[in-house]
Symmetry: C2
Subunit: 296 residues, 2 copies
Amino acid sequence: MTAKILDGREVAEALRQELDAQLQSFKQRSGVTPTIALVRAGADPASVSYAGTIERGFVKRGMGFVPRILPETATQAQIVDTVSELNAQAVVHGIMIQEPLPRGVDPAAIIAALSPEKDVDGVHPLNSGRLAQVAPAGRDPGVGHYLVPATPAGGLEILKHYQVPLAGQHAVVVGRSNIVGKPMALLLLRENATVTICHSRTADLAAVCRQGDILCVAIGRARMVKGDWIKSGAAVIDFGVNFADGKMCGDVDYDQAIEAAGMITPVPGGTGPVTNVMLMRNVLDAAMTQVCAGGS
Amino acid sequence: MTAKILDGREVAEALRQELDAQLQSFKQRSGVTPTIALVRAGADPASVSYAGTIERGFVKRGMGFVPRILPETATQAQIVDTVSELNAQAVVHGIMIQEPLPRGVDPAAIIAALSPEKDVDGVHPLNSGRLAQVAPAGRDPGVGHYLVPATPAGGLEILKHYQVPLAGQHAVVVGRSNIVGKPMALLLLRENATVTICHSRTADLAAVCRQGDILCVAIGRARMVKGDWIKSGAAVIDFGVNFADGKMCGDVDYDQAIEAAGMITPVPGGTGPVTNVMLMRNVLDAAMTQVCAGGS
C-alpha cells in the first residue's frame, strides 16, 4: 500500500481562499490594511530569501509589508528600540524578528520587547503560556487571545483538512523546539490527542515513533526517520527542510515512509506552503484584535 | 517485591533545612521578610483550612503571611483591585489566589491581573510560557525568571531527592491540568525525559501507563490507577488527594501498586508535604528576585 499524499499546496490554496474572504471583509469594514513588519540585522542569505517569500506573499494578497533592516553591527539596545517603535505604530499589526541575530544579542531580550499582540510568530512567552494553558477543544478556552507559531499551526491545519482523527489518538512529536515541536505537542493536546514528546535524549526513538497514529517530525536531520519507524497507516507530518545530494528533503525518509504510512506530507510541497499562509492568517488575526480593541 | 516508599515528609524536611539556611542568609543581608498574601472571596471550608496550613507553615519559618479576605459577594473588579494593590506593595512578595472564586468572576481575568513576579502559584501565563520555552537542563535556560506551580515542582524534588534517573527515561503523566499535569510534563521534558501526556480522552490508558519508567498521576479519582497499570519497577508519583471510605487516598491504588512499582509516594505523606515547602521556596525566590531588582 502506498500512502496518500497530504498535499500542502492544496491545503494552502483552501486556506488562502478563506483568508482572502476574511481579509476583504475586514478591509472594507475597517479601512485597515493588515501589515507585517520584519526586523533583521544583517544580510544572512537564507533570511533575505525568506523575507522575499514573505514580501511577495503579503503584497499579492493586498497585505502590508514593512522591512526594518539594521546593520549586522546592530546592538541589542538598537534592536529593542526598533521593536519598541514598531510596537507603538498603529499601522503595523504584526512583527517578526528574523534570526540569526548579531553575536552578543540575547534573543530572549528581543522577544520580551515584542508586544504579545503583535507577536505573529508566536514566540513571546505570554503566547506560549496561553497555548500551554488553553483548555481542550470544545470547552471554554479559559485564556486570552493568543498567537501560535505558523509552522505547527499549519501542521494542524493539514491534519484537519484531511480529516485525520485526533481526539483519543496517540500523537508522537519528535523534536522539542519552541517554534515547532513543543507548540505542535500543545496543539495536539488541545485537540485531545494523547501526546508523546521525543528528542535527542529519547531511548529507542524508533520504537516510540512506531506508536504514533500521528507522527510529527521536526528534528532538522535529513531522512532520519526510516520506514520501519512508522506505524502502519499512520499520518506523518514532516516539518524538515534539509538539503542532501543537492535536493530538498525532509526529516523523514520519504521513499521508505510512503510504503508504511497511511498519509504523509512530501518535502517540498507539504508543511512549507501552509506555513506561509498561517503567517498571513496570524497577521490578519492580530490586526482584527488590535482594531477591534480587545480580545486579550 | 515491595516498592520503596518515596517519603514526602523526609523530602520536605530536607528542603526545609535548605530553605531555612537561604532564608536566614537573605533576611540578614536584606532586612526583608519574604511575605505571601493570600486572596480569597468567601469562606469555602477547604480553602479556609488550606489557608490555615499555609499561615502556620509561613509563621513557623519566620516568613510573612497577609490574608486579604473579601466577601463571597465580591465582584471581579473588586478582586482585581485587591490584586493590583498587592502588586504595588513592596512588602508583599508573593500573591496566591484561592479558588473557588465567586460565580461570574473569570479566573483568567484575576490571574492576568497578577504581577508575574509575585505569581508564587505559577499560574500566570507568562510563567507557564517561560516553563514551556525553557531549554533542557544543562543548557542556558534562554528564558527570564519564572515560577513553577508548587505541586509539580515538589513532585520533581521527590524524584531528585531519591535520585530517580530522568534523562532518557519514559515519563507518563496522567492528567493535564494547568496546575499539575501540564507543568509536570514540561518539568520532566526540561529534565530530558521522553514525556507522554494522557487524559480522559486517552485510549487504553492502562497500556500507556504501563510504558512509564516514571508515572505521575493527577486525575482526582480515588485509586483509579491499578497495580497492573504500572510497569514493573517504575517510580510512581501520586498527586491525588481524595477521600474514600472515610480515609484520605491517592489516585493510585496504593495496596496494589506497592507490589508492582519500584518506588511510590504514599497518600498522605507523599507529594502533599513537599508542596507546602515549595510554595515557601517560591515566595523566597520571588522576594530575592524583587529585592535584588531584576532576574526577569
